[in-house]
């Protein structure tokens, strides 16, 4: 039995998860990473993607997050997401709406740097769309 640690998933609007877990997969900016207990203190930004949380009971819950960052300590892990929803509650329409907003923002972006960032974000969202809602 793997060692359990505290995991918290927080969005600005509410605290989604605060539980003992054994394993968390985070979509970090530099690639997915799995966090186990006694992880070295790490701070990382995350990109839009799926966070998969394995509870101490063995049950696996999945959440979709849209950007944010994670604060990992040996004793626990806190994920601050800009917005987060359980996968089951995410619908194709809401995701499409987000994609459309970003698309509109790209058209208005003034600097190239900003544009690149947004385009990257869009690519991630589109990818996510494919993963969550296999057409």
């Amino acid at each position: 039995m793997a060692e359990a640690f505290n995991f918290e998933l927080v969005s600005p609007e509410r605290l989604l998860v605060s539980e003992k877990v054994t394993e968390v997969v985070i979509p970090a900016t530099l690639g997915e990473m799995t966090v186990l207990a006694n992880h070295a203190p790490t701070m990382t930004t995350i990109k839009p993607g799926v966070v998969s949380v394995k509870l101490a009971s063995g049950q696996v819950n999945k959440y979709v997050v849209f950007g944010g960052f994670a604060d990992i300590l040996p004793t626990g892990c806190t994920l601050l997401a800009e917005s987060a929803v359980p996968v089951s509650e995410l619908t194709h329409a809401t995701l499409q709406k987000r994609i459309d907003t970003i698309q509109a923002e790209i058209n208005h972006a003034q600097t190239d740097e900003h544009k690149t960032k947004l385009e990257q974000f869009l690519a991630e969202l589109t990818h996510l769309n494919g993963v969550v809602n296999p057409a």
Partner: protein, 292 residues
């Protein structure tokens, strides 16, 4: 002296008013509970964000290349005041106390020869500040149509503020809102959001852990600081919302009580007059009978 009929009408109208204020009080109480819950739900995120940022900024304190949002532009010539008020009135001194604080601040800055720009959030503040600072208001946001205040709204305001900052339009941003202390006490507060400021104690607490940063510390900081602005605004909006309903509730409670007092007074004089009329009629009958 009003006639019996006038008094009767007035009592009826005050009673109707009392019914309305009572209903408004009840609605405000229900909304207050929801607003308070929302404000509490937002707290963990904001607290952790501040802790992380405090640690990061302490580590970056001496860095000359720290992001502008943290170090500031180095000037304090142009000030941006973000004034968050309610969308509606009938909430006692709620709107006016925030506006008074903002106006005093603006006048003080103007007297020092600084430039003042204002963004108003909420219709009430815009209406009133427009009278005095017509030329200083650069933007106006209203959430009239929005039923449930969400992070998206705060983000919208933050976007505007950050766009102005990146364009070099101002040096220091201060946020005005009412902090929710309790149902009967809301304190108008000013807090500086750009450049970011942190408590020294929080920084000491957070920087003790040695972190690995992925990507680099600077990149994370650059990513987080704009988010922090949005969070601060979000938090202020939620507190403001709770304060608004708190203020409205106590204002309506007062109004209901005043209406009750008024009804008592009016009923008393109504009864007195009725009595006087009866006495008068009796005297007339008796003196008429005596004359025969």
């Amino acid at each position: 002296m009003p006639s019996l009929k006038d008094l009767k009408n007035r009592i009826a109208s005050v009673k109707a008013t009392q019914k309305i204020t009572k209903a408004m009080k009840m609605v405000a109480a229900a909304k207050l509970r929801r607003a308070q819950e929302a404000a509490e739900a937002a707290r963990p995120y904001a607290e952790r964000m501040t802790k992380v940022l405090a640690g990061l900024s302490a580590a970056n304190a001496g860095n000359a290349e720290a992001p502008l949002l943290l170090s500031g532009t180095g000037k304090d010539q142009v000030h941006l005041l973000i004034v968050a008020t309610g969308e509606r009135g009938l909430a006692g001194g709620f709107n006016s106390s925030i506006i008074r604080l903002a106006r005093d601040h603006a006048l003080k800055l103007l007297a020092q020869g600084k430039m003042v720009k204002i963004i108003t959030v909420g219709r009430k503040g815009n209406d009133i500040l427009r009278r005095t600072f017509k030329d200083n208001i650069v933007d106006y946001v209203t959430f009239r149509e929005i039923k449930q205040l969400g992070f998206a709204q705060a983000d919208e305001v933050a976007h505007k503020v950050l766009a102005l900052y990146n364009a070099g339009e101002f040096d220091i941003a201060t946020l005005f809102y009412a902090r929710f202390q309790s149902v009967i006490s809301q304190v108008a507060t000013a807090s500086q959001i750009i450049p970011a400021t942190f408590d020294a104690t929080q920084a000491a607490d957070a920087s003790s852990a040695l972190y690995e940063y992925e990507p680099s510390e600077e990149e994370i900081l650059e990513d987080l600081l704009p988010k922090n602005v949005a969070i601060q605004i979000f938090r202020a909006l939620l507190e403001n919302n709770a304060s608004f309903y708190g203020a409205q509730m106590s204002a309506m409670d007062n109004a209901t009580r005043n209406a009750g007092d008024m009804i008592n007074k009016l009923t008393l004089s109504y009864n007195r007059q009725r009595q006087a009329q009866i006495t008068k009629e009796l005297i007339e009958i008796i003196s008429g009978a005596e004359a025969l």
